[in-house]
């Protein structure tokens, strides 16, 4: 249990630093409501194709021992 917690913390920290190391991609900038043209695109959604994701999850769940993890996301056009 303790090992798992350490592992999880390490992973979160390292993924954050990996994120920052990736440089430009993760540079935090203010995004105003009217600047979301790219984020509104279908292919910029965290789950760009729910039917495809569902199909793949079923295939891998049936053939591998791991499950789930995938969850919610934001982004998008932020409208209304």
């Amino acid at each position: 249990m303790k090992l798992l917690f350490t592992l999880m913390t390490l992973l979160t920290i390292s993924s954050c630093s990996l994120y920052n190391a990736a440089g430009n991609a993760f540079k935090t900038e203010q995004v105003n409501a009217w600047e979301r043209n790219i984020l509104a695109r279908d292919d910029m959604q965290l789950d760009a194709d729910p039917v495809r994701t569902f199909s793949d999850e079923h295939i891998y769940f049936s053939k591998e021992a791991s499950t789930g993890g995938r969850g919610v996301g934001g982004g998008g056009c932020g409208c209304n």
Partner: protein, 161 residues
């Protein structure tokens, strides 16, 4: 003569007045933007009730709001209403494509640099502002859904009277 209690009363009255003053009528920020026929600015419509809408081609609720705006421009145009829809697309081509499938009978202005929405403190797309003849914002409507149309129309009709 300088009377301490009078000064105190004066300060107190001033304090009460400032604190209890109604939400100050916000002056609609001015702008001068390109359109398909020359420049559009707010003071061109000083004697009209202006419905100012901010939209973009990628904003899906804007499709329904255009339908609504066409209807009310037609119904209340001769009663003193003017709709101005400011486009916020970064490229004119995207706006043109949208207007081809959703034509407008109201004025379209282009603000690709996005300087106007900031001045209007825009928080969500789309947002529309009702501006009276004195240049004050009397209504801010955030977002748009078809079910909100009747209520919004009622408020516009009221403002025209």
């Amino acid at each position: 003569m300088f009377n301490k209690s009078r000064v105190l009363f004066g300060l107190f009255a001033l304090f009460i007045f400032t604190v209890s003053a109604p939400v100050t009528a916000q002056k609609a920020p001015t702008f001068s933007l390109d359109s398909d026929n020359g420049k559009i600015s707010l003071n061109q419509y000083k004697n009209k009730l202006v419905y100012l809408d901010f939209w973009a081609s990628w904003c899906k609720p804007c499709r329904t709001s255009f339908k609504f705006m066409n209807e009310i421009q037609q119904r209340y145009g001769n009663k003193g209403l003017q709709i101005i829809a400011i486009n916020l697309d970064e490229d004119r081509a995207s706006a043109a494509r949208f207007l081809k499938s959703h034509p407008a009978n109201f004025k379209i202005a282009y603000d690709p640099d996005g300087s106007t929405p900031g001045a209007y403190n825009l928080k969500v797309m789309p947002t529309s502002y009702l501006i009276d003849k004195r240049g004050n914002i009397i209504l801010t409507h955030k977002g748009f859904k078809e079910t909100q149309a009747p209520e919004l129309e009622k408020m516009i009709a009221q403002a025209l009277n």
